[in-house]
Symmetry: C2
Subunit: 162 residues, 2 copies
DNA sequence: TAAGATTGATTGCTCAATCTTT
DNA sequence: AAAGATTGAGCAATCAATCTTA
């Protein structure tokens, strides 16, 4: 084995370790936050993510099933069922898009708005404790900029899912 | 609403956005890497993670089911089934610990060692393209240190899973 | 022909209960 | 009692096929 092969092996091991840290930390933090939401507000983290996106959508340009699926990294089938459950729970409604009748728009109900406001506070507090609090301002900036680079590339690579 | 309430609301929104980026980026990258491994080596990302941990374990202090579950953020039941599949596939073997007969040790088979070496190369290359490559050295260092802080706290918070 | 959404079949996880060993 | 591991039940995701509209 040559020196350069050895060096690249070491670099590879470090990269694998760093990436493992990214996945592991994200997974652990999601579990912590999701449990807190579930316990205090009785709603899954996935449903809350949908509420946030639907709630943030411009009234003149609402969210569609496909856009939600892409943003949330779910297959379209997965999103269909998630929204099914949310409709049944009374948080959102579905209605065919007037401009493209293949597409379904997802809208927040009154109950959905209330729930969103409630969960947002709990979620912000939880993230303050477990995510923002432990980091310095510089660390947060650095984290944000690194993730931005990676996410841009990853989105390009993935495109739509199914 | 007072100024300080407004400020804390804005801070909360930013925190939620940043955290969303962490989860989303991690999820997208995992999907990309997992697909590449699956396609080129015919093994799931979860199985590869087990292979790495079992392969890295000291021969005098092998991995147990519980330690694997904790490191990989799976419930013990989930790990039992994952290792079941890996035993069936011939990558690892299970054997009761001689020092504590409640505990099961997980060991790499010959086939598991070969597979590990094979996947490691593919994985390193994929991560070079999608993870390490896009970042500057400074960004990688910053990312690592921020994640280290978060992970330490998260591990404390989580403890064992079930 | 392709895009958006849904459905059926399957997979793999969590949760809770259980069994064995400490 | 408590810890480590496994099992049964249930849930939510993926994949592939299908239906409708563009």
């Amino acid at each position: 084995m040559t020196v350069s092969e050895l060096e690249s092996d070491v670099a590879g091991e470090i990269t694998i370790r760093d990436f493992g840290m990214l996945l592991g930390t994200a997974s652990r933090l999601e579990r912590i936050a999701a449990k807190e939401i579930e316990r205090e507000c009785g709603i899954s983290h996935a449903m809350f993510e949908v509420l946030m996106r639907v709630g943030a959508a411009d009234h003149t340009c609402p969210q569609t099933m496909g856009r939600l699926a892409c943003d949330m990294i779910l297959t379209s089938g997965g999103m269909t069922r998630l929204v099914d459950r949310m409709v049944k729970a009374g948080y959102v409604s579905r209605t065919p898009s007037p401009t493209d009748r293949r597409s379904q728009l997802v809208l927040l109900t009154e109950a959905g708005e209330h729930k969103l406001a409630e969960v947002k506070d709990v979620y912000s507090a939880a993230l303050g404790r477990h995510f923002a609090g432990p980091l310095s301002a510089a660390q947060r900036d650095a984290l944000r900029s690194a993730l931005q680079v990676l996410d841009d590339k990853a989105r390009l690579e993935l495109g739509g899912l199914g």
